[in-house]
Symmetry: C2
Subunit: 231 residues, 2 copies
Amino acid sequence: MPTVPHIERHFRANEMVRDIVIGMSDGLTVPFALAAGISGAVAATGIVVTAGMAEIAAGSIAMGLGGYLAARTDLEHYNTEQMRENYEIDHMPDKEKEEVADVFRNYGMDDKHIAPILTAMSADRKQWVDFMMRFELGLEAPDPKRARKSALTIGLSYVVGGLIPLSPYILIHSLSTALLVSVVVTLIALFLFGYIKGRFTGLNPLKGGLQTVLVGGLAAAVAFTLARLIG
Amino acid sequence: MPTVPHIERHFRANEMVRDIVIGMSDGLTVPFALAAGISGAVAATGIVVTAGMAEIAAGSIAMGLGGYLAARTDLEHYNTEQMRENYEIDHMPDKEKEEVADVFRNYGMDDKHIAPILTAMSADRKQWVDFMMRFELGLEAPDPKRARKSALTIGLSYVVGGLIPLSPYILIHSLSTALLVSVVVTLIALFLFGYIKGRFTGLNPLKGGLQTVLVGGLAAAVAFTLARLIG
């Protein structure tokens, strides 16, 4: 995943908010749909809680570690490409200059205006490499410390999100009542989550709320129907 | 999520491959861990299959629709920012020119070399906006048709991935044998998947294979232990 460039004036959600959104949107949806699905096939809340907790453990680890590895891979990819750009500048500087020129030609600039850019660029190795990384390859230098923080944030958000639909099955003995409470509580939570997410990402909050309710509701309805057909 | 820039010479996985990777890595991991987890708490394969199928339905819909909405949101975000850049160029062109100049100043260029860039840039409105979108905000124009294709690819990859760990429970009557076969088959599948993914993304395939085995294995082990403690 490419990282978000640093020079941003317009609003963009910061990285921690994005990690919370990633973890919580799946955490609210999948354990909810799974618990509702199993409710369609079993007779007691015990197995729903067991399966739900197993899902929350599996999902949070898979998403958290997945996020960790993705961030590490981004970093390795960046370093590999940076080494390659350095190599190319050493061994074929003219070709690299042509690539810089091509970037500016794409924006309708004449070669006579591009020449001084090439001179300025080639005077500073580090800036030249940075330019190639960003403008030719579209890569930003990732934060080396991000992987661990990101993994924890995603994983914990998944657990918090997943405990919301599951808690009625833990607290209420009657399966049908627990299912009903879980559906109501989770649809409200999904709406609030989508609403707040919409505000953070600059989209229409009402639309954001309805979208997350739709995804969660549809996933739960299909899981419920399928489990009832099989179970 | 920012999309990957188009002008890329070095190897990067294409969008469809990335969607398959997104869907299949979670599809192989979470249903595997869930099924193994439930196996630690129940006595028959029936409930494992029911819960596993409910999870595959829930996960594929949540991830597929999630991918659809993310792509739509990217598109809306791009269009909103594009309108804002157009507005700013109309109403405060000098400020926008300063922002273009700042981009190049960051690369150590003199104002006398930046001036002709500004002249060329402001002569073509569309190119000017494109430049601001890409180099100031780091946004690429998303493919409007991508959302639907992306949703289907992610969802189907999740289903295919999820059926691999689940099929032993469908085909084998003995729970302990099914669990064993599922663990062996899925760890092999996770290794092959990580290996191939590593080749596609240009990383060390062996390392990629071991990483996905580690994530899947850890998620399954924790889910199994937790379910056994609760169940």
